[in-house]
């Protein structure tokens, strides 16, 4: 190609010179087409200067052959578009050109494109046109629009109004005044680039918006002319860092181009939104995007001097206020793209339907159906949100929650983290059982949420049902590929009796099980499915391990249905060997992710896996009503009935999986009942978790049935499918409606502090100092009155069988999440209780004194009469009048940690290994020791034994203010005791072997970071 001959003056005036700066970055085939397109241009005063940006694929030779060596500049290595343009603009030939046309080597303009671009600079009445862009279409599919001009949000992110793969139907065929154009074919007036420069070299190709915005600030117009059409292949840099480059450029753009006042308003908001996005990306395991976001901001911090220098240049050239440019900014300011855009789209659709439709009920019904059909997820989520909002109305307000089995949350994240890291347990009867790693999540919530423990409780309780619904939906979508069917299944799941019961009573473990089981079951199905997992076996196993570990951390019983599902799939699934490899690998990996917690899970013969609550009524189990609460009434049968109908309607190649799910659901029901009535060993008896398995299975059956039933009904002859589908719809609508009514109108167990029995004040309000409470109940699988929580143990004593729990003075604590009452201390306590209920002792108070128990509490009418009679016969237990409760005060109670001044002759009773020795203790004067970080501290009279109701461990030490250190002895056969000091002293009791646990928790954190990184979600495009 050669340049055109010099025109005469008239031609010069009507045809300003255009220098095409052609940037070639590879792809010789398209470059050839681009050169041919340039050669075919009709515009007369056109010159070309090409830059080869470090290509090695023959592009350079092609350029030289076409343009001549004097018209081709070459970079030895790729420098980027911005630097190429800067080099070209510095060439003498560029000085003389009236316009520069930036053209990418993979863009092919139509023959009249350049002429049309130039034409747009001289539209009558349109002055100071600085930049003109073309209508850009797809190279391979020229009917598909790629760019017709852009706007941006207030935070500098480019925004295009084009829909994906939108066809060119002439809808944008008018010259548009825009904020920015596509840089692949962009005509820039000389005045603009000489004053403002071209692309910011630091931003490379992402600097086009910035250049156009600068032009706008400088008072120039930026136009898109549809008459100039350019085909563009649009090669982009590596997709891994697209977000980084976008965010980096956006921030740099607003830093340069906004006025000081605008920047003052926008920048803090941008920072806040970035922080929120960062948290959201981290929580959704999109770590790479989170890192990109952080890097983008950091880049701007590091390059701030350069940005400020460029800003000064821009602001000096300002001729237009930011207010005047506001019309070019898009409405999606908060950048929740999918939700906002979907909402806007729905609004627009409904508005159009409204205009087109006739008024009246028929129109409304049609619009409702069309809305539900077109956007089932949005509709379903909105309805669920409304009902859930009403269900959780008690959570609104400053008052702390109480009632149900809601555990007490400590103030702040500190105590939670301290418990997590501590080598000894600060609750129960002490001992080495590690706290649940789930406390880390609770600590994070407590740290982030302002308002203290009361608000943290509410956040956790409100998030749990939302999470279970979302996870069921996502698992169902992966299972059926039908969003509509999945959202209905998720709604049914959330409206199930077990979910509502768990929410009513604040059963965090059950809520976690309800959230964890759907993805677990779905992933197990995938592991055993006929085809290879789409994500690969390793990623599948890693994801399964993380989900299992998260679930087991907060609800150890989740392991039971998971293992049941694995076992069933191993017997029945298509790919048994692969499935076993993946699931067993995942199980081992989850054990590694919970390694400090594994001994806790195994303690007491697996007591952590079991639960002592449920219902013995088979009909109640059938409808998953494991306890009282709104929505546990007979209409809750809608879910199992719908599941049966769904099973009947399901068809297709996945029928085997559907039937496995049905078997699991039935198994869950049977085991939930068997757990509550005592036919299972304690480690396997967990009615809530088995019930959650049944609920998840039933919800999946609903999804499968709907997915099979709805599609293609119109093509089949009328028969069972149509009737079945209609029945299913009726059952679901009626069930969801009735459950919603129950939820809205019913009273939950958790609510304001009035949920606590008034008699609780007898225990909590009138006593000082630290003490423990022993909760007792009859042999029914029910929780204790609040705040006693769930029973920790069932004492089998024939007709005098009891349920037992032990708490501090505040009642059940979140620190005991998923942690059983097990160990030598618990064994000693149970032995003392066996002595009590068997009538073997009249000194139960003394027997319970070493455990720090000051009160025994039971619901009125709940104790077996024989046990109540025995309690009333104890010489050292005094019943305190308390309406609604039986409260016994222990006259022989000892503080959980104290210095004891014993009666003469009683000293041997402390160090004897016989636990019953405590019964003989005479009068004891006690001086309590106060809890201190890592132990206890206080002033101890000389000659006093220090006895602490915490399991003996030789690594405890008593240090006195004289520098002495005393090793412990076993007190009462199980507890910590320290022999008397000679004189009064300030002492501190602490644990000397904390380091291994600290290192272990550190290693655990690293393992989780690795696991979350391995299972991170791919970068979203």
């Amino acid at each position: 190609m050669t340049s055109a001959p010099e025109p005469d003056a008239a031609v010069q005036q009507s045809f300003p010179t255009v220098l095409v700066i052609l940037v070639a970055r590879g792809d010789p085939a398209r470059l050839r087409a681009c050169l041919a397109a340039l050669a075919a241009q009709t515009y007369p005063r056109l010159g070309v200067l090409a830059i080869d940006d470090g290509t090695d694929d023959g592009s350079h030779e092609l350029l030289v052959r076409a343009l001549g060596a004097e018209r081709v500049l070459r970079n030895e290595r790729p420098e980027g578009i911005a630097r190429c343009l800067a080099r070209a603009a510095a060439a003498p030939v560029a000085e003389k050109a009236d316009h520069l046309l930036v053209l990418h080597g993979d863009a092919a303009p139509d023959p009249d494109a350049v002429a049309r671009l130039v034409e747009a600079t001289a539209i009558p009445g349109v002055e100071r046109v600085g930049i003109v862009g073309a209508k850009v279409v797809d190279w391979d599919r020229p009917r598909v629009l790629r760019d017709v001009g852009r706007s941006a949000d207030r935070f500098g992110h480019p925004f295009s109004s084009l829909l994906p793969d939108e066809l060119d139907q002439g809808q944008f065929d008018r010259v548009l005044d825009v904020l920015a154009v596509d840089g692949c074919a962009m005509l820039v007036a000389r005045d603009v680039w000489r004053l403002l420069g071209l692309l910011d070299e630091r931003l490379d190709g992402d600097g086009v918006l910035d250049l156009c915005w600068r032009a706008r600030v400088g008072g120039w117009r930026v136009l898109m002319t549809p008459l100039a059409r350019v085909r563009h292949a649009g090669g982009r840099p590596s997709p891994e860092h697209r977000r980084y480059e976008e965010d980096r450029a956006a921030l740099a753009t607003i830093l340069k181009n906004y006025s000081p006042w605008s920047l003052l308003a926008v920048l803090p908001l941008a920072a806040l939104l970035a922080a929120v996005r960062l948290v959201f990306l981290a929580l959704t395991r999109r770590f790479e995007e989170a890192v990109d976001l952080g890097r983008a901001w950091w880049w701007n911090v590091v390059h701030l001097p350069g940005t400020l220098a460029r800003r000064r240049r821009v602001q000096r050239s300002r001729r237009v206020s930011d207010r005047a440019l506001r019309r070019f900014t898009a409405s999606a300011g908060i950048r929740l793209p999918r939700w906002f855009q979907t909402a806007e789209r729905i609004w627009e659709e409904q508005r159009q339907l409204d205009e087109a439709d006739e008024p009246g009920a028929g129109g409304f019904r049609r619009r409702t159906v069309s809305l539900a059909r077109a956007h089932p997820v949005v509709v379903g989520s909105t309805l669920a949100g409304l009902v859930l909002g009403l269900a959780l109305r008690d959570l609104v307000g400053p008052e702390p929650l109480a009632g149900g089995i809601l555990p007490a949350f400590p103030e702040g994240a500190g105590p939670l983290l301290a418990e997590l890291v501590s080598a000894t347990r600060s609750t129960g009867l002490g001992g080495p059982l590690a706290a649940s790693p789930a406390l880390a999540v609770v600590a994070a919530v407590s740290a982030i949420v302002p308002g203290g423990a009361a608000v943290a409780q509410k956040v956790v309780l409100a998030a749990a049902p939302v999470l279970s619904g979302v996870l069921l939906y996502r698992a169902a979508v992966r299972r059926t590929a039908r969003p509509g069917a999945s959202i209905v299944a998720a709604l049914a799941y959330g409206a199930s009796a077990i979910a509502l019961w768990a929410l009513s009573e604040a059963r965090l473990s059950t809520l976690v099980a309800l959230a964890a089981l759907p993805p677990l079951l779905e992933r197990i199905d995938v592991a055993f499915a006929a085809g290879e997992p789409r994500d690969g076996r390793r990623r599948l196993a890693a994801g399964l391990a993380v989900t299992l570990a998260l679930g087991v951390a907060a609800s150890p019983g989740v392991a039971l249905p998971a293992l049941a599902a694995i076992g069933l799939a191993a017997l029945w699934g298509p790919a048994r060997l692969r499935g076993l490899q993946v699931t067993l690998g995942a199980t081992l990996a989850s054990a590694v992710l919970l390694f400090p917690f594994v001994p806790t899970l195994a303690a007491g013969g697996g007591a952590a896996l079991g639960s002592t609550v449920g219902t013995t009524d088979p009909l109640a189990v059938l409808r998953l009503a494991l306890g009282p609460g709104p929505g546990t009434w007979p209409p809750a049968l809608f879910l199992p009935v719908a599941a049966v109908l769904g099973l009947a309607l399901a068809r297709g190649p996945q029928l085997g999986r559907t039937w496995r799910t049905a078997v699991l659901a039935v198994l869950g029901l049977a085991l939930a009942w068997a757990s509550a009535v005592g036919w299972l060993p304690p480690a396997l008896a967990n009615a809530p978790t088995w019930g959650a398995l049944a609920a998840a299975g039933q919800a999946f059956l609903v999804a499968d049935g709907l997915a099979s039933g709805i599609g293609g009904l119109g093509r089949e002859a009328f028969g069972f499918r149509q009737i079945g589908t209609a029945l299913l719809a009726v059952v679901l609508v009626a069930g969801l409606g009735l459950q919603s009514i129950a939820v809205v109108l019913g009273e939950r167990a958790v609510g304001d502090p009035a949920r606590i029995p008034a008699a609780w004040a007898v225990v909590h309000g009138t006593s000082e100092g630290a003490f423990r409470i022993l909760w007792l109940g009859g042999d029914r699988p029910e929780p204790f009155p609040p705040p006693g929580g769930d029973p920790a143990y069932r004492l089998d004593a024939g007709p005098a069988s009891l349920r037992v729990g032990l708490t501090g003075r505040e009642g059940a604590s979140i620190l005991d999440l998923a942690r059983p009452l097990a160990g030598p201390g618990a064994d000693a306590l149970l032995a003392a209780l066996r002595d009590l209920v068997s009538g073997s002792t009249a000194h139960a108070g003394h027997a319970l004194a070493p455990f720090g128990i000051r009160y025994l509490v039971a619901r009125e009418g709940d104790l077996p009469p024989a046990v109540l009679a025995v309690l009333r016969e104890q010489v050292d237990l005094d019943e305190v009048p308390a309406a609604g409760l039986h409260v016994f005060r222990n006259a022989a109670a000892l503080p959980p940690a104290a210095a004891l001044q014993l009666a003469e002759g009683d000293e041997p009773l402390i160090a004897t290994p016989a636990p019953r020795a405590a019964w003989r203790l005479g009068s004891v004067r006690s001086v309590p020791l106060a809890p201190a970080p890592g132990g206890w501290a206080g002033r101890v009279p000389g000659g006093s034994w220090v006895v602490i109701g915490s399991e003996y461990d030789p690594d405890w030490r008593l240090r006195d203010d004289g520098g002495g250190s005393t090793a412990p002895v076993r007190a009462f056969g199980w507890a910590l005791g320290f022999r008397p000091l000679a004189s009064d002293a300030e002492v501190r009791v602490d644990y000397g072997a904390q380091l291994p646990r600290t290192l272990g928790v550190g290693l655990l954190a690293v393992l989780w970071a690795v696991a979350l990184w391995v299972t991170r979600r791919p970068v979203a495009r």
Partner: protein, 449 residues
Amino acid sequence: MRRPGIAALLLAGVVAAGVVAADRIGPAPAGPALRPTFASGAWLCPHGGGEGSSAAIVLANPGDRDVDARLTTFGARRPSAPAAVTVPAGGQLVQEVPSSERGSSTLVETFGGWIAAAWRLAGADGAGVGIEPCVAPSPGVWYAADVGTPQGTQAFLVVMNPFATVAVVDVVLFSADRAPVRDAEWTDLEIPPRRSVALAVGRKLLGEPAILAQVNAQVGRVGVGSLVVSRGGGLRSAAGTTSPSSTWYLPLARGAGAGELVVGVPGSEARSVTTTLVAAGAPASSPTQAEQAGTSAAAYPLQAAGPSAVVVRIAGGGGVVALRAAGRGADDAATAGTSGPAADWVVPPTAAGAAGLPGLVVLNPGTIEVRVRLRLLPSGGGDGHEAVLRLPAGGLAEAPEGFLEQDPTASVLVRADAPVVAFGAGRSTLGAERYAIAIGIPVPIGAIE
């Protein structure tokens, strides 16, 4: 299309059948009841006292291991320092306790096994003696039926609160003809923790030969006994009860043969009271029946020719009884009786001193002949003497002659093949004629081999 539907229906049918089966199967059977080991226990001994009186607690250990005990005595002031003792296996220990106050009482705590406890209270100068088994701690309403206030007697309710919290009691007195007496002073009466008081019944209701006292602990718990001191130094002592019953067994032996049965009916409805005397070697007497009004106490005279037991049946509901037996001297005896037969008993010694004339009576209320073994539990333990009785159905027998005399101060272990009732009745003729009767203490099943 139909097969999945049918299969689904079948599965639903299986589930429904499962529900029915589950309903029928029901819960897993509970494990066996835990057997008590009697590792510790407690007795309340509201023995009373007074100036010049002396009290002792008789601790009898029928088992094969030594048992430790701790005795703490209460009164209106601070409790005494606890006394720790060891009761030898197969023997007894008699521990003196303070009794200078009318309201004196003692708490006995036992460790390491089961032992029986009874109190023995002797009046000033030893003129009278009262012996009665101690009672187990029990909440609720107490009754004492031997607090009548005829001329020449002073009756006291001994109310003890050995526990750590205050007790608040209401006392109501029932008599034969008057309305129940609820005195303001004895309503919401606070008994401080670890204190014991004596309430003079005569200050509230005088001149009534039969009075039933009801002590209702609204708050806390108490133990109740009665103490009656008569002119001439006679002394009667009886334990209270918390369990009105429709059948009672009481002894009438070794005294003058005359006695008075006091029946208290705390309920509002009238009762039919049937009394039968069972004598040794003779058929049971014809029952005598009387109607008694509700909320009343009545006295029924008795006369026995020889060692006898009184069987009282109260139809239409429960009642409370006490037996006042006339001694041959100025001292009478009393007991609250027992409402239930048992296979094993420990009968405390009812004769004071080595010169006493102890007596023991065993009643077989059943319908078959019973073989009864007797074993002495002497102070200091050791192998006690043994004897065997055979009791016909419905019959009564005394201990073989000479058996008790081998150690008049020893307790007696009574072991039968079937439930029986064992009583003690004894006299002491050293100085004044003293007379005491006491019901035995049933041994809980499993407490001894």
